[in-house]
């Protein structure tokens, strides 16, 4: 079933039922746009200013008719339109004071109904009629209280993740190193590094893992580090140190783990943030490939 991408509005066939965007880049751009559109930051939490729905605005405008006596003070939208039309016919410049005096959220004082009720003669019946309430002309009523603003909740975890990727700003470097450069050593390493990062993230979300799986990943890291491509990585490649550090950490874990016990693999929060950010950055340039599809030796 075809869907329309929420960012570029182009039709696409989603891989998942809940897919909103046609591509990774659209997803990222929509995310950046969404973040940029949120309001000021207060105490680390971003807030969104409440904007009433368009339907509500329409209703308010329709309701906001004004007492005859008050029309000079608060002309309705319709009366402004009429004034503009008249001015068009007579080639006169519109009176700016008319527009300026239009209240944005004028409270609803029933105008037309009052006029009708006053112009129609009352008919006496047996039933007690409630006398129509005559509203005082020129009364300045209090404006409607604005609905309570909805303060958008934000996630501290996502905010940290977002700030981390913003601060590192690896996107441009990766783009220059990897885009249309599939033969480069940086691409060869990045493709494999992304795969290993995906594996580690999956491991960290499992209740228990097989220690041999972790050892296999550790060996893959070692092969990667020993590869020719790794030696010829450009100096500005952003993950050179991270790859070595990760390998060392996993190696220590594997060496110290008890093979007979069930093994749980978890990252510290900071490392996890870094790994998720790395995965996200790499995902924009290299495809996801499964471990079994890749060779880690050249």
């Amino acid at each position: 079933m075809e869907k329309v991408c929420e960012y570029c509005k182009n039709p696409f066939v989603p891989k998942r039922i809940d897919s909103l965007y046609c591509s990774h880049s659209c997803r990222q751009l929509a995310y950046v746009l969404r973040k940029a559109s949120t309001g000021n930051t207060i105490d680390g939490l971003k807030t969104l200013t409440y904007k009433p729905d368009p339907i509500v605005i329409q209703q308010t405008k329709q309701e906001s008719s004004i007492e005859p006596g008050a029309e000079e003070k608060y002309p309705s939208t319709e009366s402004v339109k009429t004034a503009e039309n008249v001015n068009e016919l007579t080639d006169k410049k519109p009176d700016p004071s008319i527009k300026e005096s239009v209240p944005v959220n004028y409270p609803s004082i029933v105008n037309n109904e009052t006029v009708k009720k006053e112009s129609v003669l009352p008919v006496n019946t047996d039933k007690k009629e409630s006398t129509p309430e005559i509203k005082q002309v020129n009364t300045v009523t209090k404006p409607k209280e604005e609905p309570e603003q909805y303060k958008q909740y934000n996630s501290a975890f996502l905010l940290e993740l977002f700030n981390l990727t913003e601060a590192r700003d690896y996107h441009f470097t990766l783009y220059r190193l990897l885009h249309n450069n599939k033969e480069s050593s940086a691409y060869w390493i990045s493709l494999r590094f992304r795969c290993l990062v995906e594996c580690l993230l999956t491991f960290s979300e499992m209740q228990f893992i097989d220690l041999n799986d972790l050892k296999e990943v550790c060996n893959a890291f070692t092969n990667l580090i020993q590869s020719r491509s790794f030696k010829y990585l450009p100096s500005n490649y952003p993950y050179t140190k991270d790859i070595v550090q990760l390998r060392d950490t996993i190696k220590n874990l594997c060496l110290n783990a008890d093979e007979d016990e069930e093994f749980t693999f978890r990252f510290k929060k900071e490392t996890r943030l870094k790994i998720i950010a790395t995965r996200w950055e790499l995902a924009s340039q290299v495809p996801k490939t499964t471990f079994s599809q890749l060779k880690f030796t050249e």
Binding site: K15, R16, L20, H24, R27, Q28, Y31, R34, D53, E148, Y150, Q152, Y153, N154, S155, A156, F157, L158, L161, E198, C199, L201, T202, F203, S204, E205, M206, Q207, D213, R272, I276, A277, R279, W280, A283, K288, T290, F291, S292, Q293
Partner: protein, 88 residues
């Protein structure tokens, strides 16, 4: 006119990284909820949230939560989820 309560159910898959924050929002907004399932091998909790459709604020809270989860998924997954890292 009588206002009828229209209760809707929203099922959310909440990752462990976001669990406390999402539960905090649900609790603060006083929404009725239930933990339906805990997926231990994926660090996910499946939570059903029940809310009144006629209350705009509730709808906004649900949209807010979904937006946060979508942002997280964008960082964490981007593409198709794969349960087994060896498969395919």
């Amino acid at each position: 006119m009588k206002d009828e309560k229209e209760t809707s159910e929203e099922t959310l898959k909440v990752p462990a990284d976001m669990l406390l924050e999402i539960l905090n929002i649900i609790a603060k907004e006083g929404l009725k909820h239930e933990v339906v399932q805990v997926m231990m091998n994926r660090s996910l909790a499946v939570i059903s949230v029940y809310y009144d459709k006629n209350i705009t604020r509730n709808q906004k809270v649900i949209n807010n939560i979904q937006s946060l989860l979508s942002d997280y998924r964008d960082f964490r997954e981007s593409e198709n989820e794969e349960l087994n890292w060896r498969e395919q």
